[in-house]
């Protein structure tokens, strides 16, 4: 069985050589190169067509996330494992969107990396366990209220609080602030504040804009 060929892309020499030592100690792994700059990384990836690309996010001049699609274009067979200090979900999301198969935190030391390489080589995706829970949660959130699936007007409508939605509908129907204030037991000034806030959020300047918006949304009938 041939060894899994790995290219390490990280600008920290110490870490990079440490990892290389760690990986080389494994019988089935082989580090074919270490790149500390984006240009070198692109060149080596193209030359070597490695099985695994270990990619750091913070690189000099360019983010590893930026580099990801380009690396995959040059070496399409490679599987990319992001290896980073950043624990923020946003990086993880972006990395997976960009085509990474693994996401490992540097602070985990070598252990997680080994798991990741093995999993990825078997065709799985590996995500640092400590980040997985949050990742699944964000995934649920975005599928539930996915902004991409909604029209711009719907998204705007969702910006408004319930009170604001109520007041906007009232305004669109032609009620005055006083009438609304009496209807929902608020002071007239409060109603006016909600109204002006809703207008600010929606970016409208006149009542006509508001009415048109509400009509487009079909929240009221003409």
């Amino acid at each position: 069985m041939s060894k899994t060929r790995i290219l390490i892309i990280d600008d920290h020499q110490l870490l990079s050589s440490g990892l290389a030592m760690l990986l080389c100690a494994e019988k089935d792994l082989e580090v074919t190169g270490q790149a500390d700059r984006p240009e070198t990384a692109l060149r080596l990836a193209e030359e070597q067509q490695p099985d695994i690309l270990l990619l750091d996010i913070s690189l000099p001049g360019r983010s590893g996330l930026d580099l990801l699609p380009e690396l995959l274009a040059r070496s399409p067979q490679s599987r990319v494992i992001m290896m980073t200090m950043h624990e923020e979900q946003q990086y993880l999301k972006k990395a997976i969107e960009g085509g990474a198969k693994g996401f490992v935190l540097k602070k985990g030391g070598g252990t997680d990396l080994m798991y990741a390489i093995r999993a990825v080589m078997q065709g799985d995706t590996y995500i640092q366990p400590s980040m997985l829970a949050d990742f699944i949660k964000t995934g649920e959130e975005s599928s539930e209220g996915s902004p991409e699936n909604l029209s711009e007007d719907e998204q705007r409508w969702r910006m408004l609080s319930q009170r604001e939605q109520q007041i906007v509908l009232g305004v669109a129907k032609g009620y005055t602030s006083r009438e609304m204030a009496e209807g929902i037991f608020l002071s007239e000034k409060t109603v006016a504040t909600y109204r002006s806030r809703a207008m600010t959020k929606l970016g409208f300047e006149s009542r006509a804009d508001l009415v048109e918006f509400v009509l487009r949304l079909r929240k009221i009938d003409i």
Binding site: Y91, Q155, S161, T190, R197
Partner: protein, 487 residues
């Protein structure tokens, strides 16, 4: 020729321009004085000229008539004297007449032979007059004008008894009339002069009245230029246009004072803000230094000790436990450093942009403070904006969240951002207890002042919309295109 045609109007134009420039350069006082004097003198001169002309026109006619009348009158009286040949009486009579009539220069009587028999000349009959005597004419002849060394004299001759017995010749010089004209002229001239003096005094008084407020205004303007805003003019001093000007001046100084006060206030705030920013920066550095020294440094030192312990470890078991402990400690330390770095500057902002950075901020905020954050992003997708703009908006949202934790007692926060074509709009709203924006003391709440400053630096606008009981909303709108981006 064409040259001449062009140069003449050019010359006039030049002359007019020169006169104009001279008139403009002369002080107001002299202008009014000059105008008054010129008018008075012109009027006086015209009057004198007109009077003279009118008098002179009648003067000769009068003298002719006078000479004719005197000659005729005397011809009747002389008749008797000639009859009795009383030449002495005749001469006396003639002399009396000359004395009584101031215009009459001389009279003489000729007999039928043409010889002069009586005359009024003191020193004998002048020879050259004798030469001019014509022959006797039977009828009364028209008066004639004699040019003598004493001046023009109208001479008329009247025959005695139709000229049969001689003739009376009367010469009228009109001295007294001329004197009278002179008297009138002089008196007119004197009057003109008096009026001119009076007019000059009057115009000086008038100019004083006019220029005094102007001088006041000038002095006041100078005072204001020196920075003395306490000057005020009394418009009651002159209730005309200048009074209005003074009122306007007072109003102007008034608004200058207000503007100056506002400027000073703003300057104070700015300086205060700068101080606080600098103090804040220094505090932050102090905190980082302490953190690095006390926390990171100590941790590294403890790692060294642990490594030493590992080196000396006897059993495999001890070594394994030591390694596990060390790994845990290092992991903790890495987290601490990471948190410190993120607090200073979230790399997400640089690497991924505003929206992921705000998402991260919001998630961390939710975890730490148990306040729900609703996020609304519109028109971004993977769009990146100028870094200074992203930093500005990030820091504003950060500041707003800090304020909400400190003051609002909110349970829900809404953050919205909309990236348009030309502007970036956004805001942070909470459902806390709210406040009245008018009652915010800017000096105490540098947070709000800082937000406003940041946004104004990028040419944007900032609003606070809040009321007691219904939470607060800060909102902003910043141009996407930034000319200067210092980041």
């Amino acid at each position: 020729m064409p040259v001449a045609l062009i140069s003449v109007p050019a010359f006039f134009r030049q002359a007019v321009r020169r006169v104009r420039s001279v008139l403009l350069s002369v002080p107001l006082k002299l202008k009014i004085l000059g105008l008054a004097l010129a008018l008075i003198l012109l009027f006086g001169a015209v009057t004198i000229y007109k009077v003279q002309a009118a008098l002179s026109e009648n003067f000769d006619a009068f003298l002719q008539e006078e000479s004719r009348f005197v000659a005729t009158e005397l011809s009747y009286q002389s008749h008797d004297y000639l009859l009795i040949n009383d030449m002495y009486g005749l001469t006396q009579m003639l002399r009396n007449t000359v004395q009584n009539r101031p215009d009459l220069r001389y009279v003489f009587v000729r007999n039928a032979e043409g010889q002069v028999v009586a005359h009024t000349f003191e020193g004998g009959f002048p020879g050259d007059l004798l030469e001019k005597i014509s022959g006797l004419s039977p009828q009364r002849s028209e008066p004639r004008l004699l040019r003598t060394n004493e001046g023009s004299i109208w001479e008329a001759e009247a025959g005695i008894s139709n000229g049969n017995e001689g003739a009376v010749v009367a010469g009228v010089k009109g001295d007294s009339l001329r004197r009278q004209i002179g008297v009138i002229t002089r008196s007119l001239a004197r009057t003109t002069l008096l009026v001119a003096i009076f007019g000059a005094l009057l115009s000086l008084g008038l100019t004083w009245l006019i220029t005094r407020p102007v001088t006041r205004l000038l002095e006041a303007t100078r005072a204001v230029r020196r920075g003395d805003y306490s000057v005020r003019l009394d418009p009651a001093e002159s209730r005309d246009e200048l009074g209005k000007l003074m009122e306007g001046f007072n109003a102007m100084v008034g608004s200058l004072v207000i503007a100056e006060k506002a400027r000073l206030g703003k300057e104070y705030l700015q300086r205060d803000f700068l101080h606080r920013v600098m103090a804040g920066q220094e505090g932050e550095r102090k905190r980082i230094a302490r953190e690095l020294h006390d926390q990171t440094g100590q941790a590294l030192a403890s790692f060294m000790v642990d490594l030493k312990v590992l080196e000396n470890a006897q059993s495999v078991n001890d070594r394994g436990q030591g390694i596990t402990r060390l790994r845990k400690a290092i992991t903790e330390e890495m987290e601490a450093i990471h948190d410190l770095a993120v607090a200073l500057r979230p790399t997400v902002l640089d690497d991924l942009g505003l929206v992921p950075a705000v998402e991260m901020l919001a998630r961390n905020f939710e975890k730490r403070h148990r306040i729900q954050v609703r996020l609304n992003f519109l028109g971004f997708l993977d769009r990146r904006l100028e870094l200074c703009l992203e930093t500005c908006v990030y820091r504003i949202i950060q500041e707003a969240l800090t304020n909400i934790v400190k003051h609002a007692q909110a349970t829900e926060v809404t953050i919205f951002l909309e990236g348009g074509e030309k502007t970036l709009r956004g805001g942070v709203e909470d459902n806390g207890r709210g406040f009245e924006p008018e009652n915010i003391d800017q000096a105490k709440h540098m947070g709000i002042y800082g937000m406003r400053e940041r946004i104004q630096l990028l040419g944007g606008s900032f609003h606070i919309d809040s009321d007691k009981g219904i939470g607060a909303m800060i909102s902003f709108e910043i141009p996407i295109k930034q000319e200067k981006c210092h980041e």
